[in-house]
Structures are given as structure tokens and as C-alpha cells.
Symmetry: C2
Subunit: 289 residues, 2 copies
């Protein structure tokens, strides 16, 4: 049982955790912390949190579980505001999409990695954001990745692990570096492609017409380009190295594809498309043959 849960940053991610834990009856008190009063009042009205404060130090006072669900760009200031205010049995975790930058922020603020901090990342979300988009089932059957360091307390990892399982998630552990590479490939790169494609078409002449003739596939393909631009700027900057490597590699593959096309090599094209179709059906749709 969590006695007091402090959600720092009450949006889709933090709000959904609170709702899931409440529904399971495994949390006694939830305090929300954020900047915008209207948003926090809405979170209270929706029953997501019990009360709120704008003061991080106040929010974490007496909390045995603290979830930092603020944008990556606000992580360091939040940690700074929290420092020295935690109760001695508190466990802190975060929900940032990049783990290297969060660990860096924690180390900078605490001058080393404290045992109570468990870096985490729920692989869930929609292109919508804000507490009004939160729902208790968001994490059901979704994966959460924890990236504990050698310094991290085992008990702290267990408590964060249990919290996510209570939200319905499957929890996996991996290294910080591996997490950031896997996510660069499966999430950050696709978002960059969708943003760049839509921006590129929008800059064409007659862009209104271009979009008018886009079919259903385009709508699905570009859905992620409706995601929050500020959040994605933060993610890109935070995962700069793995992501820029991935982008460069992918751009080279597209140049190669253009060359294949130029020389009319249908066999080679077919091989690529067949491998892709097979992999998607097998791994993404779960149709195993």
C-alpha cells in the first residue's frame, strides 16, 4: 500500500498512474504538484488527485512514493526543488522517455546516484496530452522499462516495480544505454520521420491540395506528428547522440533506396518490402508463422 503518492506533473502520464492505483485501491492519498492552477483544479475535480500544491518541497513532504512526470526539460529544476525534502522512506521514480539525460540530471543535483531513485519509462501514451486525457487503463498490458543503476536500492526497485504492475503493466529491466538506443529506433526515429514528412509536405506549394489527396494510410502514418512539439524537442535534445546516429543511418538507407529505384532494380525492392511485411506481421501484429 502506498501511503502518500506525490505526482509531480499531473498530465496524461502522471494522472493515469494515480487513476490506476486508486482504482486498485492501493494508494491512500495522492497529492498533485504543478504550475498551472486550472489544470490541478481539473485534476481534483476529476478525482485524479486529492489536493494540490505548486511547491515541490511541500508535495513530497511525507510521501513514500514520488513520481516525476514532468517534461525532460523540467527534470533538473524539479530535482533541485525536491532535494533535501524527501522523507527517509521515500522512493522516487520518473517517467521520462530518455533515461541517460534523467540519470545525468539526478547525478548533477545529488552529486552521485542516490539509492532511492529508480529511473523508469512507461511505453504508453497517446498523441493527446493533459490530465483530461488520463485514464486508469492506459498502462494495462503495456510495458514499463526500469533502468536501475548499480547504486540503486533493491527495495526501491521492488516498490516501483510493484506500483507499475498494480497499474496493469509488464515491467522489464535494462541498462540506461540500451533503453535509449531501443527507444531511439522504435519511437524517436518514427516521430522524427512523421514530423519531417508532414512539415516537408506543408512547405510544398499547394499544400492544401497535397493533403486533400492523402489516403487513410497517410492519416495513420502521420498520427504521431500530432504529438506535443515541446515534449518532442526535449526528447530529441535529451537523446541527441543515439538519435542523430539513427537519423544519419536511416537517411543513408533512403539514398541507397533512391539509387536502387534509379537503376530499376525491382528484385532488390521486392526483397526489402517482403522482409518488412514479414517482420511487421510477425513482430508487430504478433502473427507468428
Amino acid at each position: 500500500m502506498i501511503e502518500k503518492l506525490a505526482i509531480i506533473g499531473v498530465g496524461l502520464i502522471g494522472g493515469s498512474v494515480a487513476m490506476a492505483l486508486r482504482e486498485e485501491g492501493v494508494v491512500k492519498e495522492v497529492v498533485g504538484c504543478g504550475r498551472r492552477k486550472k489544470n490541478l483544479e481539473k485534476a481534483c475535480a476529476l478525482g485524479v488527485i486529492d489536493h494540490f500544491t505548486h511547491d515541490v518541497a511541500e508535495a513530497v513532504k511525507g510521501a513514500d512514493m514520488v513520481l516525476l512526470s514532468v517534461p525532460l526539460g523540467a527534470m533538473r529544476d524539479t530535482l533541485q526543488a525536491m532535494r533535501g525534502r524527501l522523507s527517509d522512506d521515500a522512493v522516487v521514480t520518473d517517467a521520462g522517455s530518455v533515461k541517460g539525460s534523467v540519470v545525468e540530471d539526478v547525478k548533477a543535483v545529488y552529486r552521485g546516484m542516490p539509492g532511492f531513485f529508480v529511473p523508469g519509462h512507461p511505453i504508453a501514451g497517446t498523441e493527446r496530452s493533459g490530465v483530461e486525457a488520463a485514464f486508469a487503463e492506459l498502462y494495462r498490458n503495456r510495458r514499463v522499462i526500469l533502468t536501475p543503476l548499480p547504486e540503486t536500492n533493491e527495495d526501491a526497485v521492488d516498490r516501483v516495480d510493484r506500483m507499475w504492475r498494480q497499474c496493469g503493466a509488464e515491467v522489464t529491466q535494462m541498462s540506461v544505454e540500451h533503453h535509449d538506443e531501443v527507444l531511439a529506433a522504435t519511437s524517436h526515429l518514427p516521430h522524427m520521420l512523421a514530423f519531417t514528412l508532414v512539415d516537408s509536405l506543408a512547405r510544398m506549394k499547394e499544400n492544401d491540395e497535397i493533403f486533400r489527396f492523402a489516403a487513410g494510410g497517410f492519416r495513420d502514418f502521420t498520427r504521431i506528428a500530432s504529438s506535443n512539439p515541446v515534449m518532442w524537442r526535449d526528447i530529441c535534445i535529451a537523446n541527441q547522440q543515439p538519435l542523430s546516429g539513427m537519423l544519419t543511418r536511416f537517411a543513408d538507407e533512403l539514398h541507397e533506396l533512391a539509387a536502387i529505384l534509379e537503376r530499376g532494380d525491382g528484385e532488390r525492392l521486392l526483397a526489402i518490402f517482403e522482409r518488412a511485411q514479414h517482420a511487421r506481421d510477425r513482430y508487430v501484429d504478433g502473427v507468428r508463422d
Copy 2:
């Protein structure tokens, strides 16, 4: 009223046209033509066609409307088989995703552009194919582009236009060249990105793990990578020039994005993401501000 409709290639596209026109009660007889007997028997059993033949010349005999819904790679042979067998009031149209290559095929077979041929392209479809995926509503509120040439009869255009409207589609006309550029941007390029991304991830070590941590956004983004590889090879080869130009341009933009990321230019990233989000919400989701 269409007296006799010949569908050459009875799959998702051709099958759905037949079903829509039957539902509207605007076609008397539908003959299907294709290679695979099993598929054609299924089309009969589903009530999509009245009877079938494997012989194109036989199928078009006495037909006043002929729809060529065969893969682009089979277009020329189909035209060859049809040549000299049409009745004198017949109108022929096609559903190919690239119009330049179809016009080339027609000109090669007929040694010039015959007035009865109206090149067309319904912007509809799913990643599934085959007559069992066909349904009467496929074209409802979808766009169909016709690309008549100066040689095309006005009456032929009117009849094809009417047929598509009876399927529930909105019909637009544009030039062959413009069609192929617009589709390269909104359809062919996105498909190339999805195929290449999935293939690229599948070739990574531990690809099983990579896909395991893909979130919902990835599923949507890569849905089009489940499309028919042979069909897409044909489309790419048929639209070689516009598409390879588009691919090269897009690869250059990704290199540029990697450079922006390398130098940590968050402002520039934010500007791109905001423009993209705005354009998608405005043009694709139709949220106008």
C-alpha cells in the same frame, strides 16, 4: 445504367466497385476476369460478380464499361489481350496508382491514346487485399482522380465520372504528371519510409526485442508496411522518377535534421515540430483554426 461491366482483376479494388454498383442497382451484369480460378469462384460465391472467364477478350466482349484493376506490372499484357476486342460503345478505365506508366502502356499497345480510355485512380484501399477484403463502402467519401488526356472523349470521361460517383466517391481531374507527383508525396514516399524503417529494425541485432518495446504509435506508423510487396514494387518502378526525387530530397532533410540535433538547436527543432503538428491538425484531421 451499365449494361455489362467487365472487371479485369477481381481483388479489393475491382471487387468493391462491383459491389458498390450492384448495391446502387446501376449495373445489370458483372463479368470477372483473372488468373486464379479459386479467387474468381469466391467472387461468384460472394455475389461480387455474376460469372467469370480467364480470357480478357472473352470478358470484354459486349461490355460497355471495362475496369482494369490489375497490378501495374500486368497492365500492358492486359491491354494487349484486350486490343481489338472491345465493343464500339465501350469505355475503359483503370485503377492504377501511377498514371504516367499506364498512359505509356496504353500508347504503346494502341500506338497513340484512344479516346475511350480514361486513366483513373481511386484514393482508397486498405493494407489488406483480395476479393474477400472487398466491400461496397470502400469508396464512400473517398477521392477518385481522373487524368484524361486531350485525346480522351468527353463522353467517356462523363461515364467513368458517373460510375465513381455512384460508388460514393468524389471525383477530381488533374494532369497525369501532377497526379504522379502528388501521389509520390502523399502515398509512395510514406510507404517507402515505413517499409525501410521496419526492414532496418528487423536487420538489427535483437530485433525481436526491438519490436517488443514498440508502442502504439509505431503500430500505426508502420501499418502500411504490411501492404502487398509486389504491388508496391510495381508502383515504385512505375513512378521511378518522381519518387526517387522525393526520396533523395527527404533523405537530405533527415541529414539536415541530424545536423540540427548534433548542434543542439532546440529552437529549430521546435519550429519544425510545431509546423508539422499544426499542418497535420489543420489539413489531415480537418481541425481548421
